[in-house]
């Protein structure tokens, strides 16, 4: 048996660890177009901020590949997959055979078609270690930075550079920051907090055109900048899969064992679609935990084990300047909102189950809510008052608690 | 003022010796005197005594009472009592010889007698019980009188002194018996009282004992519920009563008597087959207060036999030997070798396991 993995991030690492749970011997080959030992992709903002040294960037210890009997081909691009021959072709036109293949190609930043953007010299995306390194190389204390996009990536980028420069402007088309995960009330809290740290937001607006150091907004305002960070979204890297003839929608389509339409090919991570159980829709859930767990399921199944990945939901934990927020699920339903001190919490119920929540500030024990969403626990069985007040195990009945916490089986 | 037996309980160490000829051959009393003399150091001159069985063949159907009198009033009073209740066939002083080490001797008398049938019938007691009650009566009620032997065809001879001196004093070389026991005493604080010397006797039961039982008061208070009165406060006395109660009154075999006084441990009983287990549980439960603890080695003499027993932990020395028809038991091997240098077999009986030797069928009675 010969395993091949395209990609070297969370999904790929999950797959290695999944394979090794079942098969401790057969060789694994990992091909990545990035030149780095596996690193935590979301760590780049912390690195940029100076919170993390280079050696702490690594997602797994230095001896990881060796310990797991992995052959590593870094800086190497796969150009094609031949599903009949069970080989992949590399950029140097050589071939590598596989018995089981994992596609974990991830996603890439979207570049909006704004006139003049192509000519901007100091423009960056914020997806990779190299992106962060490039930004750091050029960033100076008096740099004027323009960030296009007030999503997670854009705002983390803003936080990452705020120690170096204080002239940061974030522009977004939407009426609020983090529009995909927060409602306007929650967004306001974060925005206010970030504004206190001198981040400037221009919302309901867009850049109509760029010159080399100026952006003109649709409102007519012009902004000078020394560098632009573009963070308007990502696009899954599905081309290889598509060209090989695998079933692909927006992302690669998988069954519950993370297998593609070809029996020997699996996929995981940002390049795939998952079933969001809060909506019942197939969608790309570009989240690190999601990537890892898909990768692990794929790995186990590639090695002949059995495991399924079913309880996917959108979820995010993130903090800006010490203000933490955790969100999960979807917000279509009946909301229960509580404010206390500097905290905000919104629980959304539909069809008698918790569908989603947002917590800002006090996020203690949020995972209990997450598990309610994932397990689709009927709230009629729970103590609602306790449920609304804070996440706690007490909201379950005794039998359920025993099962969850103790493995204590009552004699009766 | 030092107190004597009966006023205080006196612990003592001792020597014991005994032998029996199974075929009933009568052996000169000098033998047992010689045997016990070899354990001189186990006595301290404050008490010695002997019991001989088969020594009165001419009076073998009569009870032989040996009595100490402190004065002639007590003798007169006792004899009035005896005459009232018994048919006295013979009475005399017990022959003794002067001995330099034996002093302060009381008046020592012997009576061969039988209960007066009318008195016996009127008492509604069986004969033995009649004897026992009479002996207790004399010992408690008549000041200065003490019956120290009361069986048939047997007799106890005891005094304050070393046992070998006591043997000479009583001229034991002039008696012959099929079984003899002897006792040398090592009391720790007594001026010595003749009645307190051993053996202790009741009917034909005699006990010589080496040890100090720790269960004494538990045993005493129990047997006293059944009409006994422990006047001497000695181990030997209470052990004799226990044996009398179990063997004579409850008709337990001597083997079973041993299972009461040196009962098997519960841990042992638990492993026995059902039938035996039920029996031993019954015995231990019923006679719980007759378990004897603490060190003892005893030789029980009775009509037609000897029984030797050690406490269940064997805290006192006791050795047994066999030569032909004769079985020897003594505190120390030297006491046996002294009178039987070449034995067929010699062994150390285990704690709680009795040696019971009885006359062969047809042996002299």
């Amino acid at each position: 048996m010969n395993y091949l993995i395209i990609g070297n991030s969370s999904a790929a690492i999950g797959a290695v660890e999944g394979i090794r749970q079942v098969d401790s011997t057969n060789p694994i080959t990992i091909i990545s177009d990035e030149p780095h030992h596996t690193y935590g992709r979301p760590l780049i903002s912390y690195w940029l901020e100076g919170k993390l040294s280079d050696e702490k960037m690594f997602y797994r210890p230095q001896n990881f590949y060796e310990k797991n009997n992995c052959k590593l081909l870094l800086g190497t691009k796969v150009t094609a997959i031949d599903i009949e021959a069970q080989v992949v072709q590399l950029q140097d036109t050589s071939f590598i055979e596989y018995d089981k293949l994992l596609i974990a190609t991830g996603s890439r930043p979207l570049m909006p078609p704004v006139p003049g953007l192509e000519q901007v010299k100091n423009k960056f995306s914020f997806m990779t270690y190299d992106d962060a390194k490039a930004i750091k190389a050029i960033l100076k204390p008096d740099s004027k930075v323009l960030i296009i996009g007030a999503g997670l990536i854009g705002l983390k980028a803003a936080e990452g550079i705020t120690k170096t420069t204080s002239d940061i402007t974030v522009v977004d088309l939407a009426d609020r920051i983090l529009p995909s995960i927060l409602d306007s009330e929650a967004a306001q809290i974060i925005q206010k907090h970030m504004e206190q740290k001198d981040i400037r937001f221009i919302l309901n607006n867009r850049v109509d055109s760029f010159s080399s150091d100026t952006a003109t907004l649709s409102s007519g305002e012009t902004l000078d900048f020394d560098l632009v960070i573009v963070a308007v979204g990502v696009r899954p890297n599905v081309e290889l899969a598509k060209e090989a003839g695998l079933a692909v929608n927006r992302g690669i389509l998988l069954d519950e064992s993370c297998k593609t339409s070809d029996a020997n090919i699996y996929a995981a991570g940002d390049c795939t679609e998952s079933m969001d159980i809060t909506t019942g829709e197939q969608k790309i859930l570009a989240l690190l935990p999601n990537a890892y767990m898909q990768g692990e399921v794929a790995g186990i199944c590639m090695a002949g084990g059995q495991k399924t990945y079913t309880h996917a939901i959108p979820m995010n934990a993130i903090g800006f300047f010490g203000l933490h927020m955790i969100t999960a699920g979807t917000y279509d339903g009946e909301a229960v909102v509580t404010h206390s001190n500097e905290s905000f919490k919104k629980l959304v119920f539909k069809d008698n189950v918790l569908k989603g929540y947002m917590m800002i500030g006090d996020v203690k024990r949020a995972g209990i809510y997450t598990s309610l969403i994932k397990e689709q626990v009927s709230v009629s069985k729970l103590d609602l008052e306790l449920l609304h007040s804070k996440p706690q195990m007490m909201l379950f009945d005794k039998a359920r608690r025993l099962e969850k916490l103790g493995g204590v089986h009552n004699e009766n | 003022m030092l107190k004597r037996e009966g006023e205080i309980r006196i612990p003592s160490g001792c020597a014991i010796s005994g032998f029996i000829n199974r075929s009933g051959k009568r052996v000169n009393g000098g033998e047992i005197v010689k045997s016990i003399s070899y354990m001189h150091d186990r006595s301290n001159g404050l008490g010695g005594g002997f019991a001989g069985y088969g020594i009165y063949p001419e009076y073998k159907d009569l009870y032989a009472f040996h009595v100490f009198y402190e004065n002639s009033q007590s003798r007169e009073e006792t004899e009035r009592f005896l005459e009232k209740h018994f048919d006295i066939v013979n009475l005399s002083r017990i022959p003794t010889r002067k001995h330099k080490n034996i002093t302060h001797e009381p008046l020592i008398w012997r009576y061969f007698l039988n209960p007066l049938p009318t008195k016996l019938a009127a008492s509604q007691l069986d004969e033995k019980e009649y004897i026992v009650q009479s002996v207790i009566n004399i010992n408690i009620k008549i000041d200065g009188a003490y019956v120290f032997s009361s069986g048939k065809n047997m007799g106890v001879f005891k005094a304050v002194g070393f046992p070998e001196d006591v043997g000479e004093f009583y001229r034991l070389d002039e008696y012959a018996g099929y079984a003899w026991t002897a006792h040398g005493r090592y009391p720790t604080n007594t001026p010595g009282w003749w009645g307190g010397a051993h053996p202790f006797a009741l009917l034909d039961y005699t006990i010589v004992h080496n040890g100090e039982i720790s269960s004494y008061d538990a045993n005493r208070r129990f047997v006293e519920m059944f009409g006994y009165k422990c006047t001497l406060l000695t181990d030997t006395e209470v052990i004799t009563y226990i044996i009398d109660l179990l063997n004579r009154k409850h008709e337990l075999s001597l083997e079973d008597v041993c299972k009461v006084i040196a009962a098997p441990f519960w841990s042992k009983i638990d492993t026995l087959p059902e039938k035996e287990k039920a029996k031993y549980i019954h015995l231990r439960n019923m006679f719980a207060s007759l378990l004897i603890t603490g060190p003892f080695s005893i030789i029980l003499g009775f009509e037609g036999g000897l029984m030797a027993l050690n406490d269940r932990l064997k805290l006192r020395s006791m050795v047994a030997a066999e030569k032909g028809d004769t079985v020897y038991i003594a505190s120390e091997e030297c006491a046996i070798r002294a009178i039987c240098p070449e034995v067929d077999r010699i062994w150390y009986p285990k704690g709680g396991e009795p040696i019971i030797v009885t006359l062969n069928k047809g042996g002299d009675k």
Binding site: S10, G14, G40, R41, P42, L43, Y46, K51, L52, K56, F58, Y59, R60, P61, L288, P289, Y292, M293, E296, M315, N316, A317, I318, G319, H324, I326, A328, V363, K364, R365, A366, G367, I368, T370, S371, P391, Q392, M393, M394, K398, R401, L402, K404, L405, G406, G407, V408 | -
Partner: protein, 143 residues
Amino acid sequence: MKKVYVNEDWCLGCHLCEYYCSFANSGESNMIKAFNKGKKTTPRIVVEEGSAINFAVQCRHCDDPLCVKGCISGALSIQNGIILVDDTKCVGCYTCVLSCPYGCIVTDHEKVIKKCDLCASNSGTPACVQGCPNAAIVFEERS
């Protein structure tokens, strides 16, 4: 593997486990120092109090731990069955807080995150177990 379990029938809600936990992880040689001058130090065990029921909750050291799988930095790992956090790698994103179905990743301002390590870094029986006055918290093997 031996783990810490709480039997809610015997939990008195006295909160001593929290204090013993904080103390054990304080690095101080005595408890008074650990809480000196009102210093509040967050325990890695949480007592939930109800009207008649109380119980303490701490890391279950799951066999299939969502916190470890979701960790963006590789700070969380399983070593000999114990889920440990490497403070130097943790960036405080709280994805583990989001993931843990028992609410057992503790956050405070002293460290990025804290969690029960079964007192592996201390010694022997976990401090909460030792300190429980009613044996409601036990350290044992359960199937």
